[in-house]
């Protein structure tokens, strides 16, 4: 799909007459990338779909507050990732599942999930990632899978680059230890 330049999109979004059309172009251009960012955090397809759609609805409502001082994808990522993190926090606070159950049950849940194509080791890796504290988990996933710059992650999470680098370093160590137990 041919991509539309960020500046052109911003112009479309600024003008009320073309705003909806511009938003649709933006959704088509960035939804898949954002979906995978959300999916790696939220794990299941159904939850990821809900989170992503809510994120775009929020983005539509917040268009007036977007001043064009960052890239559109950075702005959208911030909304989508925060929406995913809010979802995970609510999931943890649900009385039916303890925090331990959520983390230890992820590998089992994934093995039964029709939209998970990995083996048991891959399922356990997802469990290891899910057991990381929130910032470590998020920075690891964004950095490792999306190659996102620390400056962009910093804007997304509202955390300093120094803290993110430290979190990433710790997350990498923990994931390495996870793999070494199978060596």
């Amino acid at each position: 799909m041919p991509t539309t330049d960020d500046n052109q999109l911003k112009l479309l979004l600024q003008d009320p007459a073309t705003r909806r059309k511009g938003f649709e172009v933006m959704v088509r251009q960035y939804s898949e990338q954002l979906y995978w960012q959300v999916r790696r955090l939220v794990i299941t397809h159904e939850d990821s779909n809900d989170v992503l759609q809510n994120a775009f609805i929020k983005a539509w409502s917040s268009l007036d507050s977007f001043h064009g001082d960052s890239k559109l994808i950075t702005w959208l990522s911030r909304i989508a990732i925060n929406e995913a993190l809010d979802f995970l926090r609510k999931q943890k606070s649900r009385p039916t599942l303890s925090a331990d159950d959520i983390e230890t049950g992820i590998a089992n849940q994934l093995m039964a999930d029709e939209y998970f194509d990995g083996d048991e080791k891959e399922a356990q890796l997802q469990q290891a990632i899910a057991s990381l504290p929130e910032v470590q988990r998020t920075v690891f996933l964004l950095r490792y899978y999306n190659d996102m710059k620390y400056s962009d992650i910093s804007k997304t999470l509202g955390t300093s680059e120094g803290a993110l680098k430290a979190s990433y370093h710790i997350a990498v160590k923990k994931i390495t230890e996870f793999f070494k137990q199978f060596d």
Binding site: P16, R39, N49, W60, G118, V172
Partner: protein
Amino acid sequence: MNYEEDYIKNKMGNRNPFTVPEGYFEQLAGDIMNKIPAQKEQKPALIKRLRPLLYAAACVCIAVFGVVIYQNLDKQANETMKGNFSHHATEYNDSYIDEATDYAMFDNNEIYASLLADM
């Protein structure tokens, strides 16, 4: 750190174990746009709608303020004039009384003498 990252990359690779339903991304944008509310004609902000009323209120306030100030100034001017008059009246009264007192202190012989002096 690079060693550990390389180690993880060797172990994890680039494989994505997550999948999506067939055609999911093709219909995703349509699903999202169906949930976006139709763009309504934007009402002007409340302050813009109230602006004519605010201007009218400001004019009324200025007018009332002006009238009050004018009345106060007028009152002050009147009181100042009364003060002046009463001051002068006092002066006049005082001098009249002084004169009257002086006159009253004349006895009859002195009055006749003064009358004869004038003749």
